[in-house]
Assembly symmetry: C2
Homo-oligomer: 426 residues x 2
């Protein structure tokens, strides 16, 4: 029943009932965790075969003849570039293979911009006074943490169902030269699961920024992380940018953290040849090279893009039921209450739940007290502050399915309690 | 015979003879490389067993219970800290385990200092105007390249047989607050093989720098890289610094790049708990964590410090004959000529050769034309400029022994030719 249409007496009766239930759950002493966007053990197990594919010296040679056990090769072995190229539709000449973390590559990209300037010849960001990034909300907390760490002002824009409102984005990017970047997770956005429409991607590619050192931070973290066989295709921003002659505006990131192993995967930066020349020059001072054995391990295990896609179907089979369990609890328990809306993503690692304004923190706290840990309320917003205090991020992949089910029930219970409390106070 | 005591006629005769020999060698079309301080294939082969020690899920758990295949753990798994702790004599609480490259950790340390300040609360280096590092020469070119990249002024000091002249170092560090760092490779220095004396290390530990954000960059790259069983012990700078209450002045780096695999090893930063607190806070924005499976792979393979030391004896057995071949060629061909002096290191990866002033570039060029590649003349000096143009760095580890022998003969021939040419021009 729609809570907004209940009489106060009905609300009170419902709340009493729910509090009784809550008390009962609390007494059970459960301890469940929906806070972390990380693979479950069963997912890690299906990848573990990769660890054994390189076990002797003869396994260690790149097809270029390079002994991957030794120094040499700054930007990735050719077959690893070829694998990412095929998988993501990006020319190998635009791919720089790094270490284990695309987050690290994003952080370093900004760090380099602060010190050397973004793009050869541009003034270092650290000497340009106040600079700004556009942050789409709700979004990825670690993107926002990077901005905060470097003292970059964050401008929040709401993420819509097809991506950001491109009128707003263009208005900022094309008029204000202090706007230096925008964080995008264009496919299965963290946490909403949004996939940018072709039109959105095209407008990103078409943008003519006011600042010569503006970059689109295109974090394609979930490029192949589909939950269903009905894969949603993201338009290729490099192809479109080539049309518009804007390819230097893009810094593209991806990794195998949620394909193989978080922490032991392979990350890439993709960028125009011109951008990569500057990046390569600076990184050649920072390191002699990244872990080529691990690059080779990935290539030997997957062989080609199809190998990766096959593997991703196994991941989907494992985590889809967990997503379904959350969605099912949300539908069953909140579907007709009128107090919440949520995303039903076809990929990625998260579900975004919007509840009654002003009650996300309280719901988080109630859940915590009942033994269910959620990502901190507000985490998906710059400075950790949700202006409406209504968003909760649900990360269903890590716990076993039974835990996801139980935790979802606790969550919806807490959401209902908060909503009724709020309505009764009005 | 001592070239300096020859008559001009004798010099001319000798030169003619040598040029004949040189012509003969040139006609052989050889192609040998003594330029790179990297392990040979035979060294890599003795470590390859490490690749197989983790091959299934059950292998992937840290003794802390952590699944090393997943996210979690920023600064290294406990058993990896324990291994480095035992090996280097540093408390685990002072060890931060990073990715595959200590160079990367040094670069990042300076990058952080530029942006956030070195040490909590200090002004970022990028906002302090001109800052300086002391560079001991000859030294490690990649250290100097980092300074150059960040625009840090380099002050050259000559490295003596026991380390730098500590009067000079103290004079700079303790009086000039714009001096922010000094690069040290305290054991088996690159390229001289110098080991700092106990007294030198003690004076480093005792220093009271003028700048609160001065740091000793203690790159202990060759901590366990002894060539002989007569290991030279380096004093423990942390122990001494604890005596003097100066432990915050030290940033210590090491890696397994030349223990296991260059590029696929494990690197560490060691620092005071106070310094590490700042480092950890910043790096937690940069990355979720480093490759824990590779950390575990190292631990499982070596078990403990003795395992590493046993392994290093195998390395020594392989590369000692290469060092001996170079030294033997230097002694035989240049020993009585009075035109060269060289180091005879007991560890590390290099031999440093000083020849007649003003002739290093010419000798390098002659060697190159004869098919022998040496590290660029001047590479061991800031900005690649050897003020005396006399130093050559010899890296004997990578080529097979027969190549090392042949290349050494070509090198000494070129050195003799240059010396005679120079003497005849006087």
């Amino acid at each position: 029943m729609n809570y907004n249409q209940m009489s106060d007496a009905e609300k009170k009766a419902e709340l009493a009932l729910l509090l009784e239930k809550y008390k009962d759950i609390k007494s059970q002493g459960i301890s469940l965790d929906l806070s972390r966007g990380k693979p479950g053990k069963d997912q890690l197990d299906i990848t573990t075969g990769m660890l054994g594919v390189i076990s002797q010296g003869a396994d260690c040679f790149s097809k270029s003849g390079l002994d991957c056990r030794n120094y040499g090769n700054l930007d990735g072995i050719p077959e690893a570039k070829a694998l990412f190229s095929e998988l993501l539709g990006i020319a190998p000449s635009r791919i720089f293979i790094g270490g284990n973390s695309s987050l690290n590559m994003m952080y370093d990209a900004i760090s380099r911009a602060m010190i050397y300037g973004m793009g050869e010849g541009n003034i270092p960001w650290s000497r340009q006074g106040n600079i700004k990034f556009i942050c789409l909300t709700p979004g990825y907390d670690r993107h926002f943490a990077i901005c905060e760490s470097f003292g970059i002002e964050m401008i929040s824009l709401e993420l819509g169902p097809d991506g950001p409102d491109m009128d707003e984005v263009e208005n900022l990017v094309c008029n204000d030269p202090s706007v230096k970047g925008i964080w995008c997770v264009p496919k299965y956005s963290n946490p909403t699961g949004t996939v940018y429409s072709d039109e959105t991607v095209r407008r990103f590619a078409a943008m003519k920024p006011a600042a010569p050192d503006f970059r689109i931070f295109w974090d394609n973290a979930y490029a192949v992380h589909d939950l269903t066989d009905n894969k949603i295709k993201l338009a290729n921003i490099f192809d479109l940018a080539d049309e518009y002659g804007t390819v230097d505006n893009i810094l593209y990131f991806a990794s195998t953290s949620k394909i193989t192993f978080p922490g032991s995967g392979v990350a890439i930066t993709a960028a125009s040849e011109k951008n990569l020349a500057q990046i390569r020059k600076i990184i050649s001072v920072q390191t002699i090279g990244h872990d080529k054995i691990n690059q080779l391990r990935h290539v030997k295990y997957f062989q080609n893009a199809n190998g990766v896609l096959r593997h991703m179907r196994h991941h989907a089979e494992i985590i889809r039921p967990k997503f379904e369990a959350v969605i099912s609890a949300l539908e069953n328990d909140l579907g007709d209450t009128g107090i919440a809306r949520w995303t039903n993503p076809k990929g990625g690692y998260f579900i975004s739940l919007d509840i009654t304004t002003g009650s996300a923190k309280r719901a988080w706290e109630l859940a915590r007290e009942a033994g269910v840990t959620l990502t901190n309320a507000g985490a998906s917003f710059p400075y950790g502050k949700d202006p409406h205090d209504r968003n909760l991020r649900i990360a269903p992949t890590f716990p076993p399915l039974s835990d996801v089910k139980k935790a979802s029930e606790v969550l919806t219970l807490c959401v209902r309690i908060c909503a009724l409390e709020g309505l009764l106070q009005k």
